[in-house]
Symmetry: C2
Subunit: 334 residues, 2 copies
């Protein structure tokens, strides 16, 4: 391979928000796959709030990214060289490819995907994002027709899919998003029954009015004050799907949990449960088939927010925490 491999190197752990000086662009030779490995041309990189958690020194469900490593990320691309059985040049694969043009990985670390779908859909609604929304609502939240579901970060990657899935299951769905543009978008384009702008000075009153019948399931992507504001509205036997804690990720110290949670949990018999989509690996095919059927039927629209250019990876990750994206944020490696 004559081409060079551009790589964004993670230089130092953040204390607080992510900044551009935490990354350095390096060029190296493209590595060659050894026996059992594949060489993948990275095409689309997924930017996710979880990326921030991986920068902490403590292991999560995967080892942390260490200073000096190529920045970790989930991504999708095409096999350009294979020394692994079952993988051929041109195959579409996804995995922890990282912020680089080319990745060499053992075959068992990538997953072959169906070329019938667009790369955007494979990485978004048919990837971890869509599955997170699906399992969070169906398996963790156990939503039932007629229930009221509130989704925070409703205009984000998971939120845009979660709201639509909850509607497809016959729920009333209220989204919480930042700013009138996002609020209008999730109602008019994505079918949310109502939207509440958390930046509004009247947020508390507007929330109360949007969820007047109480909340059965709160799909939490943010934690913090918004979670706290939901607690008084939760119905008996309400469920909190702990999917993300966006407001916590950039904090230097562990933030206090929401006020009133413990007593509400007891008195209202609430269940708060965290999950990671990887725990459901063995039923992914079935979930994907259901998501595909909804997309094919035109009842599930997967909004993607694709930015261009390898060099823009760090600033787009930073933008993610400032809420600049609408739908699933990904960067095309050009």
């Amino acid at each position: 391979m004559a081409e060079t491999n551009r790589q964004w190197i993670f230089l130092k752990r953040p204390r607080g928000p992510v900044t551009e000086d935490m990354f350095e662009l390096r060029r190296s030779r493209v590595a060659e796959p050894e026996a059992g490995e594949v060489l993948v041309r990275v095409e689309l990189v997924s930017l996710d709030p979880a990326n921030r958690s991986w920068m902490e020194p403590v292991p999560t469900y995967k080892p942390p990214v260490a200073p000096g490593d190529v920045m970790h990320s989930f991504a999708i691309g095409r096999v350009v060289d294979s020394r692994a059985e079952g993988f051929a040049v041109g195959d579409i694969v996804e995995g922890m490819l990282g912020w680089q043009d080319y990745a060499v990985l053992p075959a068992e670390a990538v997953r072959k995907r169906n070329p019938r779908h667009s790369l955007e859909n494979l990485l978004g609604v048919l990837g971890i994002t869509g599955l997170t929304a699906y399992y969070g609502l169906i398996e963790v939240g156990k939503i039932k027709p007629g229930e009221t579901v509130v989704v925070s970060a409703a205009a984000g990657a998971v939120g845009t899919i979660a709201g639509q899935i909850a509607k497809l299951q016959g729920c009333r769905v209220v989204g919480i998003a930042g700013g009138p543009q996002k609020c209008a978008w999730i109602v008019n384009d994505l079918g949310y029954d109502a939207a509440v702008d958390y930046k509004s000075p009247d947020f508390t009153r507007e929330l109360a009015s949007a969820v007047a019948g109480g909340v059965d399931v709160y799909f939490d992507n943010v934690g913090g004050d918004i979670f706290e504001a939901i607690i008084p509205h939760l119905n008996i036997f309400g469920r909190i799907v702990a999917c993300g804690a966006l407001t916590n990720y950039n904090s230097e110290v562990a933030l206090p949990g929401p006020r009133g949670l413990q007593i509400a949990c007891i008195v209202k018999r609430l269940r708060m449960e965290g999950f990671i989509v990887l725990d459901y690996l063995e039923t992914w095919d079935k979930a994907e088939a259901e998501l595909v059927s909804w997309i094919d039927a035109g009842v599930l629209k997967p909004p993607v927010d694709v930015r261009e250019g390898f060099e823009n990876l760090p600033r787009n990750l930073i933008g993610l925490f400032n809420g600049t994206n609408m739908g699933k944020l990904m960067v095309r490696i050009t």
Copy 2:
């Protein structure tokens, strides 16, 4: 009935801790039961942390006690007059009898109990206290043999039973209690594998050493700082049984939730779930039979802390929040 009925009247809602001036002793005539009602001589009154919650103006799983009402409480006694089918003089019944010598209630508001057992056991281990420990561990915590279970307020009413049930299920059990006397007692007399004194200046280190292999189930009776201290030790797929929030009950304002809960919930896939023993009403007989079998076999010791005297009800309730009891606190009406 010639006898007078002593009643402790709830005068005003607390802002913070309960104090004696919130109650007033009154005497009235003993009421006579009407059709469908029973007159019960109250014999043993249960004092429970939940009593404090009922003093708040917001309904919990039952309406609040209103200023001017006889103070609410769960209690057990004997029927002394009956105009209800199926109830005869001498029957032992339990229910929300309140802080008074005599209570008149509709028959459907009391439950007839088996006279084979002592009143203390009926009100404690075979009553709501024991059932709370049982359902909390078995149904909510879903404890499994070999798991490590931590119980807070381990020397209290529910804690003393919960620790023993967890041991009977093959778990390793660590109790958290206040002071060396309680800690020694739960290990030596109740079979806890280890005890940690939350009043010790070395609490954090002592806790870490007692739960070195991690915590699978945390049976939370207290909330607050102790809950927060447990979070880093919870294992993946750990469960938090939200049974009580003793540290919150006396607070004037809603206290912040434990720091780090939300991120830990996601990364470690924790489940935090509240429950109320009344939700399991239909299987109480089965649970009681299992508790009885353990008591009969001598493997479950139900510690009771019985105080004497109607006039001492308010000060004993206050004492409950100061941790003065070891085992189930009840007051004999003499």
